[in-house]
């Protein structure tokens, strides 16, 4: 049976330094929820507070309506997958998977059938009598997942489970994890620092920085309408440009340096006033034109051909460097030192307040703005 997880005003301190101060969050039942952030942002700390391995200094943690703050980790009915898998080296694959069931005092038959079921689910039943030191990284990962799921936990917690695998296996395993999670329908909290992995696997993502949640939303929300400048540059790549904004009715005009202007009709009403802003334009939101002389003038410094796309590295008249991604064309790649003119896809770009703390464009979905309630 899955649960929802509610966290209210969580506080964690190590000695005098506060890692997390007053964090709130709601994770929906059956959801694949990811905590994403740079190292040291407190994501693993929060996960371990849910698991019960880190003491909760303040705040309330609920599984459904049950407060779990003081419940022993062994009694929280949590399945956990660790970064280093934490496979018991002295037990065979089968006994690793059966370990949790044995603690629950099930009958021998039930332990046998449940273990077998999950060995098969994770496609490791042919290795069941092997010792862990004779398994590959991917196989150990499968054992760890089977061991965590076989106990029918209310919640599945995963702490950077793919970081020890090579790139190809990582992609393969994240598909597997996603499929299994869907099939079992278990509430899952997943920690990673890899934004691509988070995007590929999650229903919703919480982006964290310095113990504070910056943005909670779907991968699409995060990428297209990031709540603030940090999220916009942490998720995917982007170019940051400064601009002065003037307002004329419902239209906001951005005056970028070098004399180029962009008009936006989708700015939130409360922000419609003359102000300095920061504009975030992703590399694929530029349009290069070689012929016309309208737009931002730029000189190509270098280019990288990657098949589907071609990346251009250019610099503007102001000297600022900008990255542009274009779908590769059959024509020649624009040569170095060549002058081009850039336009932007106005409906896609994001505009932030001068301090970068708020996105002033309409359409930002941020569940952390309302106390973590989805």
């Amino acid at each position: 049976m899955s649960v929802n997880i509610k966290i209210k005003n969580a506080v964690k301190r190590y000695g005098k330094s506060t890692i997390i101060s007053g964090l709130s969050l709601v994770i929906k039942e059956g959801e694949f929820f990811t905590l994403l952030g740079p190292s040291g942002c407190g994501k693993t700390t929060l996960l371990r507070m849910i698991a019960g391995f880190n003491f909760i200094e303040g705040g309330d943690f609920f599984f459904n309506d049950e407060r779990i703050n003081m419940i022993d980790p062994a009694k929280r009915n949590i399945g956990m997958v660790f970064q280093n898998y934490a496979i018991f080296p002295h037990l065979s694959v089968k006994n690793n998977v059966a370990f949790g069931l044995k603690n629950r005092k099930y009958s021998k038959d039930k332990i046998e059938t449940e273990t077998q079921k999950f060995l098969e689910l994770m496609k490791i039943d042919q290795y069941k009598d092997r010792m862990p030191n004779r398994l590959s990284g991917g196989q150990q990962q499968r054992v760890a997942l089977a061991r965590a799921l076989v106990i029918q936990p209310d919640v599945l917690l995963m702490d950077e489970p793919l970081s020890n695998l090579d790139a190809k296996l990582r992609v393969e395993m994240r598909q597997t994890i996603r499929e299994i999670q869907r099939r079992v329908g278990i509430t899952t909290v997943y920690v990673t620092h890899d934004q691509e992995e988070a995007m590929a696997i999650s229903d919703r993502i919480a982006v964290m920085k310095d113990g504070v949640i910056q943005h909670i939303g779907t991968p699409k929300d995060l990428y297209q309408r990031p709540a603030n400048l940090f999220v916009s540059s942490f998720i995917g790549r982007t170019n940051i440009l400064e601009a002065d904004a003037t307002v004329n009715g419902s239209l906001m005009t951005l005056h970028l340096k070098d004399g180029f202007t962009v008009s936006l009709s989708n700015v939130q009403p409360e922000f419609r006033q003359d102000r300095k802003v920061i504009v975030s334009i992703r590399p694929e939101e530029f349009i290069i034109s070689e012929n016309s002389d309208e737009g931002l003038r730029a000189v190509v410094d270098s280019s990288v051909f990657l098949g589907l796309n071609t990346h251009y590295y250019v610099h503007l008249d102001s000297g600022q460097e900008v990255e542009i991604i274009q779908e590769s064309k059959i024509d020649e790649i624009i040569p170095e030192k060549h002058t081009v003119y850039l336009k932007v896809k106005a409906e896609k770009i994001n505009v932030f307040t001068e301090d970068g703390s708020r996105n002033i464009v309409k359409g930002v979905n941020n569940d952390s703005a309302n106390g973590g309630e989805a």
Binding site: A51, I71, P73, A74, N84, A86
Partner: protein, 549 residues
């Protein structure tokens, strides 16, 4: 979570251990200190220290001990390190046998080696006689400094070998390949790469050798003759035939501890400069030993091991010789065994009872303490850790004297009981066993235990089902070493024993001092057999031919 509870089961465990250490280690040490500053007329005085340093008769024991110990340490390193290098980097024929012989040598009681060398090279030793009568060559005097150095070096270089072999196993082959690739090979590589990589281990081995040699009591007593050293002096003052002086013995003990503590600190400071850890993904690939270099390696390895093992062989040989009184007669029989077994009383059962209880206690306590130190670090467990390491620098005879002084009067009288011998063995063995358990435990990631807890196992169940089994390799190898050192222990036992608690080692010692060499040889052979059997059991259990302490 529950870690924050004030009183869990572990709190009771560590408080109990803490109390035990206070009672059985700190209190006796305090008693020694107290006794050392009580003068002849019962008042506070430093007169015993003054007596020691002002009279050359006493103070020279300090210089003697120091010079013979230092020489032993250096010589053991010079012999042991190259041996480990050859053994681990080259295919030497008879690897398993070499390993077993070296372990056996390191495990026999040193005084047995001393007495065997007297039989071989002493005034009427067979080698001496042979050279004298057939070749007219006079062998240099074996008694005194030379003898102690010979016996202790041959006894202790195996420790260096075992330690350094362990370090070499942790060197990744790619480091050696990188060195070769950068043009540093052969001897240069040995000094520039291998020695520095093994430095932490070499220093640890040097300290161990120093402590063992400094505290050894049986060897200088038998072979030292006029060359008087520290541990013997303590013993003489404490139990000597010329009248005992507890206070003076206590004062010498205090001086001994100060010296060993100093050496310990110097070693700590030195080894901090070489603190790094290694973990080999690709162990070193052994090469074939070829040509003149190969011949030299084989020659060196076999000669060194042969020399160390020679006393054992000779004792086994002697044990089958006929004797009459104290003299050996031509012909061979089991007579020495028959008589020795008749006259040895309960020493075999005693060995098993005392050694067995001590072993179980040592292993059990080491597991608990290492777990507390690594996983439940707090002020009290850290204090336990520090206290448990103290006996590492306290010579065995001092531990014995301290226990006698503390527990020969009311309220607690333990002298002459099995209990006091078990306690002494525990105190002396624990530092080693705890260190190896701590090292093992530190390599076990905490997440493995957390995984067990998240799967619903209680803390105690996690400890016994996950932590202890994962530690078992370290525990078993620690236990076997403990067992053998326990049964061959002499320097503490000789102070604590009485007629009811004579162990096999003590019985051998008694026969040796009485000059009943035939009986001594027979019992020493029994002791060796016991050691060999223990070792075979260990290899069977751990399914490994390689032992690294």
């Amino acid at each position: 979570m529950a870690r924050k509870k004030l009183f869990d089961a572990w709190a009771i465990v560590y408080l109990a251990i803490f109390a035990a250490y206070l009672l059985f280690l700190i209190y006796p040490m305090y008693t020694i200190l107290q006794n050392s500053v009580i003068g002849e007329n019962g008042t506070l005085s430093l007169e015993w220290f003054a007596k020691f340093f002002s009279q050359k008769y006493y103070s020279q024991t300090l210089i003697h001990s120091f010079s013979v110990t230092l020489c032993t340490t250096v010589l053991s390193l010079v012999i042991g390190v190259p041996l480990a290098y050859f053994y681990n980097l080259y295919e030497i024929k008879g690897r398993s046998l070499i390993q077993v012989l070296i372990i056996l040598c390191s495990m026999s009681a040193p005084f047995i080696g001393a007495y065997a060398w007297i039989q071989l090279l002493g005034r009427s030793g067979i080698v001496t006689k042979f050279f004298q009568s057939r070749l007219g060559i006079t062998i240099p005097n074996i008694y005194g400094f030379n003898g102690i150095l010979l016996v202790l070096t041959l006894q202790l270089y195996p420790l260096v070998f075992l330690y350094v072999s362990g370090a070499l196993k942790n060197i990744d082959n790619s480091l050696l390949e990188a060195s070769d690739n950068l043009g540093c090979t052969g001897i240069r590589r040995f000094f520039k790469v291998i020695i520095p990589l093994c430095m932490p281990t070499i220093l640890a081995a040097a300290l161990l050798v120093f402590m063992r040699a400094f505290a050894d009591f049986g060897t200088p007593l038998l072979i030292g003759e006029g060359y008087r050293v520290f541990p013997v002096e303590i013993y003489t003052q404490f139990l000597g035939e010329t009248g005992t002086n507890y206070n003076f013995a206590a004062a010498i003990s205090v001086i001994a501890i100060v010296i060993t503590a100093f050496i310990f600190l110097v070693q700590k400071i030195l080894s901090n400069r070489f603190a790094f850890t290694m973990n080999a993904l690709n162990p070193i690939e052994r090469k074939k030993a070829k040509g003149i270099k190969g011949f030299f390696m084989y020659f060196y390895t076999y000669v060194i091991i042969g020399l160390a093992f020679l006393p054992q062989v000779y004792i086994v040989y002697q044990s089958f010789q006929n004797t009459s009184g104290k003299l050996f007669r031509p012909g061979y029989s089991f007579d020495s065994y028959k008589t020795a077994l008749k006259r040895m009383g309960d020493s075999i059962p005693n060995t098993f009872i005392i050694g067995g209880i001590a072993l179980v206690a040592v292993v059990f306590l080491a597991i608990l303490i290492s777990y507390l130190v690594v996983r439940r670090s707090n002020v009290i467990t850290q204090a336990i850790d520090t206290m448990s390491m103290l006996p590492y620098i306290i010579p065995g005879s001092v531990v014995g004297i301290a226990l006698v002084m503390a527990f020969n009067k009311k309220p607690i009288i333990l002298t002459g009981t099995i209990g006091i011998m078990v306690i002494a063995l525990c105190i002396r063995r624990l530092p080693y066993t705890i260190r190896s358990s701590v090292a093992t435990l530190q390599q076990i990631p905490l997440t493995t235990e957390e995984a067990a807890i998240s799967l619903g196992a209680s803390k105690m169940k996690t400890f016994f089902k996950i932590t202890v089994p994962m530690m078992s390799n370290g525990i078993i190898s620690g236990a076997i070493l403990s067992w053998v050192t326990i049964i061959t222990e002499l320097s503490t036992a000789i102070i604590l024993y009485n007629s009811k608690t004579v162990t096999l080692t003590l019985a051998v010692y008694t026969f040796v001092t009485r000059g009943n060499y035939g009986y001594a040889a027979a019992l020493a052979t029994v002791l060796t057999a016991l050691t060999v059997i223990s070792l075979l059991i260990f290899m069977k259990v751990s399914k490994s031919k390689e032992i690294t302490f």
